[in-house]
């Protein structure tokens, strides 16, 4: 097993405990845990279940929402049928967690070119995994800027002949905005 960062006191660096990407039924799309706090898959699923149920009725669409339970702070945001969660310890700076969440949702929006939903995410699951990998490294925050994250993930696919290579990042961002505006107007 690799070493996990497990110092959670006030002098420590901001640390992320997990990042979850669930669908509107609470099922996993992509998840990543960075502590041993949930040692088994059963424990992980139970956590996902309770966090999903606790948050499902809230409206976390325009602004990120926050909830505290089991001595963890969870910030979350919903886009279409995708639910994004970032969990940190009790003492964590809530705004640092929110910055990670923002970076994640921005990057995913860019990578999926505005079509942020469960199906699109699953079809581009390789990008979702790479995206998580570029945001957090074993609990340490690597990058919080959505453009940078998406940029790093996308460059890897340039040679792959993936459709994204035909667009620059700023074009992708523009498309994403357009999609968002359209979905808001609907």
């Amino acid at each position: 097993m690799h070493v996990l960062l497990n110092i959670y006191h006030s002098d420590a660096c901001p640390t992320i405990k997990n990042v979850l990407l669930l669908d509107s039924g609470g099922r996993r799309v992509a998840v990543k845990y960075y502590t041993d706090e949930w040692p088994t898959n059963g424990a992980k699923l139970a956590f996902e279940r309770s966090v999903f149920i606790k948050t499902q009725k809230t409206n976390a669409r325009t602004e990120a929402e926050i909830v505290m339970f089991e001595n963890n702070v969870v910030v979350y945001k919903f886009i279409q049928d995708l639910h994004f969660f970032v969990t940190g310890g009790d003492y964590e700076n809530e705004l640092a967690l929110a910055a990670v969440l923002q970076g994640l949702s921005d990057a995913v929006t860019l990578l999926l070119r505005g079509n942020v939903d469960q199906r699109e995410a699953l079809e581009n699951l390789n990008m979702m995994f790479l995206c998580l990998d570029e945001i957090i490294d074993a609990g340490m925050i690597l990058e919080t800027d959505g453009n940078m994250i998406a940029g790093k993930v996308a460059t890897h696919n340039m040679d792959d002949g993936a459709p994204l290579s035909e667009q620059t990042i700023s074009q992708a961002l523009a498309t994403a905005r357009e999609h968002l505006t359209r979905s808001l107007l609907r």
Binding site: M1, H2, V3, L5, S10, D11, A12, C13, P14, S24, G25, R28, A30, V31, N41, L45, T58, N59, E63, A64, E65, I66, V67, M68, V75, Q80, D81, N93, E94, L95, A96, L97, A98, A99, Q118, R119, L122, E123, L125, N126, F129, L130, D133, D137, A138, M140, I141, L142, E143, T144, K152, T155, H156, N157, M158, D159, D160, G161, A162, R186
Partner: protein, 885 residues
């Protein structure tokens, strides 16, 4: 919203499109064979790796053999030049976490990538290699890692630094050698590189205070580029402040200016971190607090829930220690009661309850009533607890708070929630005499329709204790007898006991109670019938058993002065023979619980648990303990027992603390000893006390402790005589003396011969406050008026320069050892004068009330006016003497 609901409806249909539908591990493992193709199809390989990752991510596990096979196949993919595929290879290697003999196979490929010209390869190869590597390999790649730390590409530098943070846990000696490079990276122009470098540098140096202090000093003057790095620096600066505060009492706090400057940073993350750091400073003054509270207050009205939550959570914590500092935010807090986010609303309410003043209580309760119906039980319990503390703070407001509690008691709720409410009402009845009658009636109404047997029986017991003492006990009978008719057997039995208690305590009700009890003789439950029979016979219902009244009451309702644990063991050991079980053979001495058990039981005492009064129960326990010791049984009524005072440092061989028991003519020191050495048994443990600095005290008795085994606390006592009624003070030096015997840890048996030894303890003191009981009054003004000015003594004192007004108030309150009333111990931020009301009972059971008026001038000189009223002139003078000395 409609579109999302629609999506849900279509879910089944949509799930058909999932690219992973019907995916099977076996099939995917078969697919992984494409990795071995001589002509690699990189697109296909990528897809297979994604499927493998998907399986792992869904919680699927690979057997050792499967994982090894996949790993070996994956290593072949390093031949491909496709960047996308390589990224997936890196990912899957990290997920498979190969064993060390497998790692060797990819090491050379990864090291090649580490030195590649492509930045993406370099950064990722470093992260993968550091994740899977062990110490030996690390020395080989150390040179490259040091280079990478100062690489001009920020992604590469960050990858190396973050890897360094992880490696520091396993190979600290290697990572520590990178200090110079890390130091250079701290100056990087790339925001996140600086953040990662700062985190690593601090961890490398965290045990070197001076180095951390230097680091903070230089960076707070320099430029810090990313908000995350700035947050780190704030945390490190607070750490330096914490560690330096001990030797720097006077003058300004170091780095406070830096923290305050961060409140004007452009990133909210930094502003918040700085504000929180300021609120958590040790002994923060209201002047230091004000700017932090101001920014947090602004956050309260932010449109972002995360920001509102962060601010209200921090302010809620501040409200516990500095309620006055938070009152400015009350208007903003009130608007948060209706916040969509229930966590925010609950935090706002509990803060308001902590900071609210007496006049605002009614309005606040109205707002909360609307709120209570739509939050979960866990939040409601928090609110109920806060309301209880509020009511104890403002006893005059008991009526509206009690009404609120009884209203929510009638609404739907789970057991824990209901129990919290009932506990609160019981505590209020106990502490606020005026609230008793209405509180009892609320409880009566509640048991008329209560689905929880536990709560019903507890309330019935409580009614039996308190009900007969009220002005009109008869009105409770109906409620109690209804239980006998309507409830299950457990509640019925409990109700019978309660009825009997009323019968025994209130003579006028006796005939009517007996009629009711006789009806219970036909109950279909054994226990109920048995109880009714017992009470009828013993209380003289039919006059057959005649004993003196007092004995009967003691027998039926008196507290059993035998520890239940001891009774239980004795009963278990009792074998049925001709001889009856003799309750007087049960030992009365309290056997101390093992340490571990005590810790687990260290939760807050529940109100209903031990009848009838939880807070006094320690006093009761002490009283029982002392009266069980013959030497002390003649000392009379115990006046006061102090809180334990530690006489040893933490984590020494023997832990000893002392509890001072004050009697009218005597003082008993109870030394609680714990032996923390498993290899030792202590015998004949005594404390030898030198009272040469306590002239008025004369030692009269010592009770040694026979044996003190490892980890089982025991007590030894020393008693002193002192002049009657005189509040004598003095200092006592203590030495622990004992015979120590070696214990064989494997068998637990002690050797026969022991050695005498002694152990120096810290001094103990008897101070004036030991003669004062903290007893609150519900209405200070009334109490003050009713005592009258006959024995009033007023004088003025100069207290000299003080750190703050609130520090001066605390000092005087602690010196007198009296109960602050009506929340007056809290000093408003920035105020220049303050009044504090205290009440207590002085030795000899003399009621004392004190009015303190404080004033502070610009040079922090504090002046105090002290007005005392009591039932005894000499006591009023004695209070002044305490302060004057």
């Amino acid at each position: 919203m409609a579109q999302f609901v629609k999506k849900d409806d279509d879910r089944d249909e949509e799930a058909e499109y999932s690219p992973f539908l019907g995916i099977e591990k076996g099939a995917v493992l078969q697919d992984a064979r494409v990795f071995n193709d001589p002509q690699l199809d990189s697109r296909r390989c990528s897809q297979v790796i994604t499927k493998l990752l998907y399986l792992l991510n869904q919680g699927e596990t690979f057997t050792k053999v499967e994982a090894t096979e996949v790993f070996f196949a994956v290593t072949k993919l390093f031949q491909s030049k496709d960047i996308g595929l390589r990224r997936m290879v890196y990912l899957i290697i990290k997920e498979l976490s190969p064993s060390s003999d497998e790692v060797i196979i990819v090491t050379s490929s990864l090291m090649k990538d580490m030195n590649s010209k492509t930045d993406v390869y370099r950064a990722n190869a470093i992260r993968v290699l550091c994740r899977i590597t062990d110490g030996t390999l690390l020395t080989q790649i150390e040179r490259y890692l040091k280079q990478a730390i100062v690489d001009k590409n920020p992604v590469v530098a960050s990858a190396a630094l973050v890897s360094g943070i992880h490696l520091l846990q396993t190979n600290p000696e290697i990572v520590k050698r990178w200090s110079n490079e890390v130091q250079e990276a701290v100056q990087s122009r790339a925001a996140l590189v600086q953040f990662h470098a700062l985190a690593l540098l601090h961890q490398i140096r965290q045990n070197d205070r001076l180095a951390v202090s230097k680091l903070v000093t230089s960076l707070t003057r320099g430029t810090v580029r990313s908000p995350l790095a700035q947050c780190l620096l704030i945390r490190y600066a607070s750490q330096v402040i914490r560690e330096s505060s001990m030797n720097n009492q006077s003058g300004d706090r170091p780095f406070y200016d830096y923290l305050e400057g961060c409140l004007r940073h452009k990133a909210e993350m930094v502003i918040f971190e700085a504000a929180r750091a300021i609120t958590e400073l040790n002994g923060v003054t209201s002047r230091e607090l004000t700017p932090a509270i101001t920014v947090l207050q602004l956050f309260l009205s932010s449109s972002k829930p995360v920001l509102r939550f962060a601010a209200v959570r921090t302010l809620n914590k501040v409200a516990m220690t500095h309620p006055m500092a938070v009152t400015n935010c009350n208007i903003d807090m009130e608007s948060l009661i209706s916040d969509q986010n229930r966590s925010i609303a609950t935090l706002a309410i509990t803060s308001l309850l902590k900071t609210g003043n007496e006049s605002g209580v009614d309005r606040l309760m109205k707002q909360i009533t609307n709120f209570m119906s739509d939050i979960a039980d866990e939040f409601k319990i928090v609110v109920v607890d806060a309301i209880r503390s509020l009511c104890l703070k403002f006893p005059l407001k008991y009526r509206s708070l009690m009404n609120f509690l009884s209203n929510i008691l009638r609404e739907e709720g789970g057991f824990e929630y209901k129990k919290a409410i009932v506990d609160s009402i019981v505590i209020l009845i106990r502490d606020i005499p005026d609230a008793k009658e209405s509180g009892l009636l609320h409880l009566c109404e509640f048991i008329e329709d209560c689905e929880f047997t536990y709560l019903s029986t507890q309330i019935l017991h409580f009614l039996g204790v308190e009900g007969p003492k009220t002005s009109d006990p008869s009105k409770y009978i109906r409620y109690i007898y209804n239980r006998v008719i309507l409830e299950n057997a457990t509640v019925r039995a409990s109700a019978v006991s309660t009825l009997a208690k009323f019968g025994a305590m209130v003579d006028s009700l006796k005939p009517r109670i007996f009629i009711l009890l006789r009806r219970c003789l036909y109950d279909n439950d054994d226990e109920v019938r048995d109880r009714a029979t017992l009470y009828l016979n013993t209380l003289g219902g039919d006059g057959s058993v005649v004993e003196t009244e007092k004995d009967v009451k003691d027998f039926l309702f008196g507290s059993l002065d035998i520890p239940l644990v001891n009774l239980e063991t004795s009963l278990k050991n009792y074998e049925p023979t001709e001889e009856h079980f003799d309750i007087s053979s049960v030992p009365k001495e309290v056997k101390s619980q093992p340490l571990a058990e005590k810790k687990s039981a260290g939760k807050k005492p529940t109100a209903l648990g031990a009848p009838p009064a939880a807070p006094t129960s320690t006093v009761d326990a002490y009283e029982k303990l002392l009266s069980s010791i013959p030497e002390f049984s003649t000392f009379g009524q115990l006046f006061k027992s102090s809180a334990p005072v530690e006489l040893t440092e933490a984590e020494t061989e023997y832990a000893v603390n002392v509890v001072k028991h004050i009697f009218d003519k005597h003082v008993v020191f109870q030394y609680n000893c714990t032996n923390t050495i498993p290899e030792q048994l202590l015998e004949n443990v005594v404390v030898v006390v030198d009272a040469s600095e306590a002239e008025e005290f004369a030692e009269v008795a010592t009770k040694p402790l026979k044996a003190l085994p490892y980890d089982t606390p025991g007590q030894t006592f020393v008693a002193f005589e002192k002049p009657e009624g005189v509040p004598a003070v003095g200092r006592f030096s203590n030495v622990l003396k004992f015979i120590v015997k070696e214990v064989d840890p494997s068998t637990g048996e002690a050797e026969e011969d022991g050695v005498e030894d002694e152990y120096q303890l810290e001094d103990s003191e008897i101070v004036a406050a030991d003669y004062m009981l903290k007893v609150g009054v519900s209405n200070f003004r009334n109490a003050w008026e009713s005592l009258g000015p006959d024995f009033e003594r007023i004088d003025e004192y100069g207290l000299g320069p003080r750190e703050s007004l609130s520090e001066a108030v605390n000092a005087v309150v602690n010196l007198l050892g009296m109960q602050p009333c009506e929340g007056t111990e809290v000093v408003a931020a920035n105020s220049r004068s303050h009044s504090c009301l205290l009440s207590g009972v002085y030795i000899g059971n003399v009621k004392v009330l004190v009015r303190l008026s404080f004033g502070v001038d610009s040079s922090k000189e504090v002046a105090m006016k002290l007005a005392v009223r009591s039932e005894d002139e000499s006591v009023s003078d004695a209070i002044h003497e305490i302060v004057a000395n």
